[in-house]
Symmetry: C2
Subunit: 201 residues, 2 copies
DNA sequence: TTCCATTTTGGCACTCCGCGACATTATTGT
DNA sequence: ACAATAATGTCGCGGAGTGCCAAAATGGAA
């Protein structure tokens, strides 16, 4: 089931990709809640126990191999030039994080629509967001030479996720506009909100 | 179980407050996950079914009567003077939202510590945050005369929660500093982060 | 070829949450 | 005394998650 450097032992009956494919087909037809692990298992011709072994929980099927993409996100941030302004480094990281081959984009959209549209998955996603924010917080803290627990660092990490997710949801609704533009707009709006001017709004 | 304008019928065997009291006692002793509904029921001398009826889910016991405080949050925002800058209105709302009698503060702290320290509750909280953000988004949209779906509105609502939660967590760790100050600092740090200057950080 | 080591699968059983159904109990009003 | 009301308690089910262990399927060594 996991990476198998050794070639001995019984071969795996399925793969993460295969399970996700079957699962998403069923989710689309019956909805996430109404789809049981048994149904997925039957669809694949394997046992429920095996399906359950491939993911920590049913919720996690929706996110797929998120942990791997998170590692690359971290590496991308670390590779950013030091003279690049912090907010730009984060923004570029977000863009690279969400860049996928054009052929895979429809699947990504379907996946994210499912997650953002299903309460149980919305809730579960928080745990993923925590990891994401931790990566950003550690990056910001290192660049600034302050502890990760610092209020400023935590606020920036939190707000970065807010900006990214707001732009991302807008991108899901309107595929025409590139994500980069939406990120810029979201940041600009936030600047306007935070700016202390005579204008009440 | 709910408000009973009528005085007929069998009297309720317990109350939300009573359940939460027993539950938190058990959570403190055994942890949230290890505490079952049966244990809470036994503690109160009632049946599991009755405990379950008082809350949509076990997770919801931790949040208590959040929906009621959310209504007052909404009303507070609506009552803010029109000439008050938007960000100040939201900030005051947040402060009022979290203001409790000094005697209750320890219980609030315990409650929030439990929620923020338990993964399952952290995840479930997302659903509450959605409601919170919706209230802010509707307020901002109304003040600005734009649809709630607007990218700027959504970003501001998201970021407001980020600021509030960052400050709130800092407040939990350091009870000495008043929440108002932490909110100010969080906002100031975010302004600095978003500000476009020559300085890379 | 035969057996052994390895690795995954599959089956079983259990706990817990959540929920629907329905009888039971305890109260008020007539 | 009896009807009406409203919450409780009991029962049973479906589904997720998990530990345990035997069975199956492969590669490698004797």
């Amino acid at each position: 089931m996991t990476d198998r450097p050794s070639l001995r032992g019984r071969p795996a009956a399925t793969t993460h990709a295969e399970i996700e494919q079957a699962a998403f087909r069923l989710f689309a037809e019956y909805g996430f809640e109404a789809t049981t692990l048994d149904m997925i298992a039957v669809e694949l011709g394997i046992s429920r126990r095996t399906v359950a072994r491939y993911y920590p929980s049913k919720n996690d099927i929706a996110w797929g191999r998120f942990d791997e993409t998170l590692v690359s996100f971290k590496e991308m941030l670390d590779a950013m030039p030091q003279d690049l302004p912090l907010w730009q480094a984060v923004q570029r990281g977000v863009l690279a994080f969400n860049a996928v081959p054009a052929a895979e984009e429809p699947f990504l959209r379907r996946r994210m629509r499912l997650i953002l549209g299903t309460p149980a998955l919305q809730a579960h996603s928080t745990l993923r967001y925590v990891e994401w924010r931790t990566v950003v917080a550690e990056f910001v803290a290192r660049r600034r030479g302050v502890p990760v627990g610092d209020l400023g660092v935590q606020t920036i990490a939190n707000a970065s996720l807010s900006i990214a997710m707001s732009a991302y949801e807008a991108w899901l609704d309107d595929p025409g506009t590139p994500l980069a533009e939406l990120l810029d707009e979201a940041m600009a709006r936030l600047r306007g909100y935070l700016a202390v001017t005579g204008d009440p709004d």
